[in-house]
């Protein structure tokens, strides 16, 4: 892992104002990301997706994003307006979402969608963009790029759709890929193919990857490092391979609640939520290492 971190997040807060006071969706989340694969796990509503969206500048009004530090390379993301973010998205950070059925434009062929991204970021000619898109489709192991180029999203399978998404996201050569539940809508065998393709590209291009998922096994076997989120906070951070030895009672409770092949229990231990887990963890200060 090289010197300067790709992404630095310090005390990230996302707040949605409401009649009953502010709802704090993300509370003082801090981490740095190098050229590695970082997993964020947690249950629905834990703030893992909101964290990813905040980095992309995609938290909708009236939501507020605050942070002591939010830097991508040498760019301060806190000062960017919508225009600034639009230049950044695709070119430097890209995001793959759960279901390609909803994230691809249904009335445009997939080839044109990928080429459009290239034209937008490089002001390339139609011919150059087409060539780049075909090359990218091949890079994500699509066997017949020419044919797939002319297809519409409804004509491709879920696994193929996700490969197309990855191709589109990587064509402008971003440094950071945020994948939010990229394989949850897919069958297990296809899931692993898509992950392998993503892994191959991320390694080849020396990118950073944030994988957001609820699937503990998947994250621990795929990523280098894992952050566990609960109620908007990071409650634990550890090496992915050591997730099974997690310390926090929430992580331990989640792991225990998973049914396991070869370890059949009559009754699964149910997670007992401790109100203490909701208490604010101390924000990072300059004094903390």
């Amino acid at each position: 892992m090289s010197d300067a971190p790709l992404l630095t997040v310090r005390n990230l807060r996302v707040v949605y104002p409401s009649d009953e006071g502010d709802f704090r969706a993300v509370r003082n989340v801090s981490f740095t990301l190098g050229r590695e694969r970082l997993g964020i796990v947690g249950e629905s509503g834990s703030g893992k997706s909101t964290t990813g969206r905040a980095i992309m500048g995609l938290v909708p009004e009236p939501g507020r994003v605050e942070a002591d530090l939010l830097r991508l390379g040498d760019t301060d993301l806190r000062t960017l307006n919508e225009r600034g973010f639009r230049k950044l998205r695709g070119k430097r950070i890209a995001m793959v979402l759960q279901d390609p059925k909803y994230s691809l434009d249904p009335v445009m062929t997939v080839g044109r969608q990928i080429a459009e991204t290239h034209r937008h970021h490089f002001r390339s000619s139609a011919k150059q963009a087409r060539a780049a898109a075909l090359e990218m489709l091949e890079a994500v192991h699509i066997r017949d790029p020419e044919r797939v180029y002319t297809q519409y999203p409804h004509q491709v399978s879920g696994g193929m759709g996700q490969r197309i998404m990855i191709a589109m996201m990587l064509i402008a050569g971003p440094d950071l890929l945020i994948a939010d539940e990229p394989t949850s809508a897919l069958d297990v065998t296809v899931q692993h193919q898509v992950l392998a393709i993503m892994d191959e590209q991320v390694r080849k291009r020396g990118m950073g990857l944030i994988l957001i998922s609820h699937n503990l096994h998947l994250v621990s076997s795929f990523c280098d490092r894992v952050l566990v989120m609960y109620a908007g906070q990071i409650v634990e951070s550890c090496k992915a391979a050591h997730l099974s030895e997690a310390q926090h009672p929430y992580t331990r409770g989640l792991l225990a609640a998973l049914p396991e092949l070869g370890h059949r229990r009559l009754v699964l231990p149910q997670l007992q939520r401790d109100p203490a887990w909701l208490e604010d963890v101390a924000p990072l200060t300059d004094a903390t290492p």
């Binding site: 249950e43 992950l195 096994h217 998947l218 795929f222 989640l254």
Partner: protein, 259 residues
């Protein structure tokens, strides 16, 4: 309790006829929990729906509690076989309260005494009186799935069909629902037929398991065999590997995904 003999289910006619399930045979004894695993399009849900009587089977015999199922089912048969669906967000009527949702089957089957039955069913699935007059959107995913289970149980069925009952739920909620199903099966002597893509979930609840792919039942195995890895069919072995987490060395990137 459940016997399928060479059951086939087809959609469409003529040249567009597709066999969604072909030649499936299995036998489930009373009180047993039997699981069907497979990927999307494998025909596992089709088999479940044929047993439920939601779709007609084209060939073969379906025998439930000693009675052969024909084109039409009697009210008594329908009462005996109840189903819980995957998505508790889609399977409950959004404009009806829990009380109305649970009273409906009681009225249809003219059981009477709806008030007491609803109260009992709610208690049984671990919901309180405060949930009775709420609408589905006022409940969490786990609570909704409990309502769906209560709706099935209120008719006191002998067979419970489960279509991916926990795949839309968080891990901690999944554990609660699985524990609930285990308890209900024991207390009521229910026979269960469950469909899932998750090997660990199905092996947790079921003793015997059928593996399906492309409409065919490839292998009949047991939870113990899955646990020890002593399965015979290559497809089952592949599923088993996939369920053990991501391992780049075992992935064939260029393999065509099963249609």
């Amino acid at each position: 309790m459940i016997t399928l003999e060479n059951v086939s289910v087809a959609y469409g006619t003529g040249a567009r006829r597709v066999l969604a399930a072909s030649d499936v045979s299995l036998h489930v004894t009373p009180g047993e929990a039997f699981g069907l695993v497979g990927e999307s399009g494998s025909g596992k849900s089709t088999v479940l729906r044929a047993v439920a009587g939601l779709i007609a089977h084209a060939e073969g015999r379906i025998v439930l509690a000693g009675q052969e199922m024909g084109r039409r089912r009697s009210t008594a048969t329908r009462k005996m076989v109840q189903m819980v669906f995957q998505d508790p967000y889609g399977s409950l009527h959004p404009n009806q309260t829990v009380d109305q949702i649970l009273s409906m089957p009681v009225a249809i089957h003219r059981l009477g005494d709806a008030d007491r039955r609803v109260a009992t069913a709610l208690r049984e699935v671990g919901l309180g009186r405060e949930h009775r007059f709420r609408y589905p959107h006022q409940l969490s995913g786990g609570q909704r799935q409990r309502v769906a289970i209560a709706r099935a149980l209120i008719l006191q069925p002998r067979i419970l069909l489960l279509d991916e009952p926990t795949s839309a739920l968080d891990v901690s909620v999944q554990a609660e629902i699985l524990n609930l199903l285990t308890r209900l099966r024991r207390d009521h002597g229910l026979t269960m037929l469950m469909v899932s893509h998750d090997l660990a979930v199905i092996a947790h609840l079921c003793e015997r398991i059928g593996v399906m792919s492309r409409g065919e039942l490839l292998e009949l195995t047991t939870a113990d065999a899955l646990a020890s890895g002593t399965v015979t069919h290559p497809y089952t072995k592949q599923l088993l590997r996939s369920n053990q987490g991501f391992d780049p060395s075992s992935v064939d990137i260029d393999a065509t995904p099963a249609a």
